[in-house]
Amino acid sequence: MSLATRSDTTKRPAATGGGPAPVGPWRHRLYRLDLKASPFLYIAPFFALFAAFGLFPLAFTAWVSMHDWSLLSDEHAFVGAENYTALLTDPYFWNALGNTVSILALSTVPQLLAALLLAHLLTMRLRGRTFFRMGMLLPNVASVVAVAVIFSQLFGRDFGLINWVLESLGAGRIDWQAGRASSHAAIAVMVAWKWTGYNALIYLAAMQAVPRDVYEAAHLDGASRLQQLLRITVPMIRPTIVFTVIVSTIYGLQIFAEPQLFGGAGPNGVTGGASRQFQTLTLYLYEHAFNRGFEFGYASAVAWTMFAVIVLVALLNYLFIRRIRSDS
């Protein structure tokens, strides 16, 4: 629009036959307005969409969270912070929070370490390097549901492949769903399988930006491959590590499909096992929002509390990761 307007104003004098342009005060004001307002207009679509589909739902959720808001009834009584106090005194909420953090730690820490090592290996001269690099991304392309369904079968108690291997090695069968630790481990494996390659590629991209001569100098000084990784690569790609840690944290705290499908189609899929041994925060939200009662008010309070938890954990992780440079 502004391009068109501008060419309008510049072309017009030529058409009228030279001389200083007779720019009237009205036209001048319009021109200035165009300069000032147009940029905002260009970015407006994003903000309009964000307001409609991001900001409004956020604010509305906050509003709903202060009501006794069941989807099935037409009356929504205002209850203030009652949903939040009920939430904070519910032991099942703290249980879900503990499970979420435990699954997060079990999946993210090994996953990022493995990604770092894989990326380091991929920087070396390998036969079929492109093949390996592309292969890294394959698990990430697979749908979460497909991954969860297949892994749930692998972790099956009676006919699962993993138990079959364990048994043929002489170790006993494990009822993966039943125990707290075993179920967390199984879910963490699903997450790690999907995201390790993705993070490895991000690390790889960052590693390629590290100047070669630093490694050459280190090599001349007799530093081993591992020392080069720890002393040069990791500090040099620190911003990327911070990024992956934050993103993995946000994803890990919202994990839903994996535990839900791991629990099966019955009530155990909603409560994360009969003892709620692998119910995550999102499952807890789902239980209240889309199960008995359809308590949207309470579920909205869970959503906002989750938001606070995610910000807090991401911040803690950021502060922790920042120490990388000072440590090395």
Binding site: L72, G156, G266, T271, A274
Partner: protein
Amino acid sequence: MRSKPFRAALAAGTAAVLALTGAACSSDADDGTVTLTVGLFGDFGFGPLYEEYMEAHPDIKIEERISEFADHHTNLTTHLATGSGAADIEAVEVGYISQYTASPDRFHNLLDLGADELEGQWLDWKWQQALSSDGEALIGLGTDVGGMAMCYRRDLFEAAGLPVERDEVSALWADSWADYVAVGHQYMDATDGSYFFESSGNMFRAQVEQAEQGVYDRENNIVVESNPAVGDAWDLTVEAIEAGMSNRLEAWTPEWNAGFSEGTFATIICPAWMTSYIETNAPDAAGLWDVAAVPGGAGNMGGSHLVLPAQGEHPEEAYELIEWLTAPEQQLKVFEQTGNFPSTPELYDDPALTGLTKPYFNDAPVGGIFTAAAEAVEPQYQGPLQGDVLATLGQGLGRIEDGSQSPDEAWSQVLSDLESF
């Protein structure tokens, strides 16, 4: 300004896109045909019936949408609450029907559409289940009922030295569930590495469904703690769990499916709809399964209604279709195809129904067995959160099974969980 026509074109384009998407949402074609959507959980065996109906009614098109059992009811509730998204015709399982009869204004009242003349067609309790509490509105017409029987593995019974013929097996536990558990003890003593039943939750649920009063009283209070029938069922189930009879298989999981063909458990409670499930899931086990009577007399487990959400725009056409689908002739066809047992007593002396045998179940006379079961059912009052209350109890038993809690701990957690309902 030259930008004006551009802006106008943009506006026109946007309007056109909106109009197009709007048109795409509308279900009716210009040629006057009406498209009816039918939302089901699982296959109801309606496929051939749709064909037949569409042939007789060229102006009707039928589209079926099938989803998972739990998702289906969650989605239906969401669609009802938000006023859009529901199919013209939706199936509702009996565990959820009372939740919906509590808000009859979200459905077309079938009594106004012609159902008032059909009352005698269904089992009385099946009819009652879909009535609103004031009796003014009927939200659904019954499809099948889940009269209970007991499916058992002949080969496993033989290996355990128990009788194999279905009449003798029925006689083993003819009196009570306590006899069934006693047979379970014998079975466990005589065998190694297999289980007597697939999951304790089902056995518990069957006992509760048979009782005069279930988990709710008629004032919609949850009476799990005070109803002795529930407590007795719990104690007997705990006894069976502690004797190691349960294979601890959660329904609808891959392990559960595999159990049918691998023969890891010897008995499973079989409402009529379960027989077709076993047949499709364990085709290799033909002849190994048989059907006997369920302990404790009759009882109902499962069964569905077809309802018309009020947001549907074609109530007359939709009603005509469900009236036809749930009519005795069509219910009989569904039974012959899938095993879902009719809810219309008119058929119960029809030899086509009572004489039906299933080769897969060793030629068991399933028609006769399920007719007897359905006729003997004493209707039990179902409360609004029936399904959820039973699920909470089932999870309590699950915690005993996996060893994470003692029976007392599990029971008290069940009671405290129920307090938040």
